[in-house]
Amino acid sequence: MNKRTILLVDDEPHVIRVLRLMLEREGYEVASANDGAEALEKMHARRPDVMVSDIQMAGMDGRELCRTARERYPDERFPIFVMTSMTASSEREWVRDLPDVDFLEKPLSPRQLIVRLATHFANAATQQENTHAA
């Protein structure tokens, strides 16, 4: 079985460094990008199973990256987790018409991310089994 791939997008190298260390320890394959453009390149090379992205980045920011990803690959709705410190609901309006985009609170706890990812993949597995059974 192929390893699940997580694409990390953040302009803060330390964040990527920590998350990579911890996710790799959990058995995920980790790809990383410094900004939106690089993320799209990586995405083009290989579609991730989940993308984790920061919002505030120079150049193409998190929002644009999410929209572009959904436009470019409409049939492959890999979940996207957006890391944000903006807690106001008005700051989260923009994801309303983007399917499968969710938020991760900053400061981010890597362990929390690992739990979220595990839950997601478990749910996906049950769903797949259900569809198979049906």
């Binding site: 803060e12 190298p13 330390h14 964040v15 920590v18 998350l19 410190s85 400061p107 981010l108 890597p110």
Partner: protein
Amino acid sequence: MKNNRIGLILVGSMLAVIALVVTLLLQRQQTEHAEQVRAQGLGMVRSLAALPVPVLVPGKGVPGVLDSILAYRDNPDFAYAAVSLDNGRNLAEVVSAGTIVPPSAPLALTGFAERAIPSSQNGRAIREFHGPLASADEKMQVRIGYFEPRTPFNMKDLPFYALIALAMFLLVPLIYVVIKREMAPLAALGEQLRTAAAGQTVPAMVPDADADVRGLAHKLNRYLDQASARIRELEQESVASMASGRLLEYGSNKMQAVLQCLPDGLLVLDPAGEVTFATGKIEPLLGVPVTEVLSQPVEAWCRDPELRAMLARFRSAGLDARSQMTIEFNPARVPDKRLWATAQALTGHAMAYGTLVVLRDATREHLARQAGNDFVAHVAHELKSPLNVIGMYGEMLADDDVDAAVRVEAINVIQDEVERMTSLVNNLLNVSKLEMGSMRPERHRVKLDDLLRDAWQQARSRAESRGIRLDLQVARDLAAVSVDKDLLRIALNNLLNNAIKYNQAGGSVVLAAEEGDADVVIAVRDSGIGMTPEDREHVTEKFFRVRESGSEQRGGHGLGLYLTNQIVELHHGRLTIDSELGHGSVFSIHLKKMPALVEGGQVL
């Protein structure tokens, strides 16, 4: 002269009256005389006619009654007396000397009559009375003639006339003099009035004259006094009203000037919503010139829905007159501005007479508010990022099965991030002090080599931990400068930190100081990543950060160079930047040299 003419007219009319009186007198005398003659004549004729003929016509040589009755009558007017036949023959006659008896005229049917005989060549005009003789058989008549009065002027009246004339003659000048005398005060009065009219002052007049004129003069004087008092009063009133008019005008002008000088735009609308007053400031604020606004309804010039809505609310009677309302909006014609519009109903005597609108440019406040918000957001982000990293590494360290190498890395990163946050907080405090104006450089005469050596020492360990060589090249006997040591230290630290931060392992940083002709140059030269000319332009702006392309995060926060530049400017120096992308940068602080010795200068 008028008075003289009046005098002449008086004299003339006086003479005319005298002449008239004399004429009437003479006429009356004449008529009386004629009546007298008629009575006498007729009486005489009647009495003679009653006498028998022989008595009237005696024989020759015998004196007749006629002679005896009439011959000696002492009447100067008597002309003749005759007894005549109808055929004209005179039977007897008595004639005054020098007179010829005129031929008789046939008797009239009435009998006694009179007739006038015009004067002939040798005689005077005669009035004849005649009548028939009662006793005569033949037609005989008695005739008595009287001279008509020759002239009405009687010589014996001459003294009388002369007397009257003399009296008149004496009277006329007297009257004239009297009149003249009576007129004199009036003339004086007139003259005084004339001079008074010419000059502005009205002299008090006490003419030397009789009671009437004096009374008149008094009344006139009183009237003039009153009039002049009234005139003075009016003049004072007019001066006062002119003064108050000027004051009002001045006040109004002043008020207008004040209103025009206000930074706020003012509009006054009448109850119908038309603009009755507007200051010139509305043009830069709303983008409409005053001329297009005056006497126009709001709809004609206002394109801002918010302002229109507010003014419409004020126009409608529903709103409480005392209420005030403020809105904030971007004017449609000047979209980069932000305005506050405050409307206030103008009321007085329990009725509304319009609306006052004050327009204030709130762009700066708006921008400041926005900048404040941006600043807070930015700082929060800048503080959250290292916290985020510290939290993550912390969480990782909590795991038991972490490699020793990763553990060291984590500790290093945490230390770095703490340093970054500390530097950010310090710089924030300094920037805040600087911007509040409370950062006043306390300048002293400072020997630069000590200061630079200190800074070099402090930065060296950090440089070495990153594999960067930090050198110090300071010329000996560097001239003293007048600086605030603490502030210059902050600037130097920021430059050195940047030089280390934006460098790579194996690179170098040189802290150097050289002396120029007029200034001392402190340079921080690095072999780091450098920057584009475009970035160099903006690198001293607040919160500007060079976009980093490499995978390594340098941890800048966009305040260090801003602060450095501000500090250098506080010292009246300048910061120059020389940089080439990929080849490093040189940041130079140029400070003015101090004169060799300044009195009171303190060398630290």
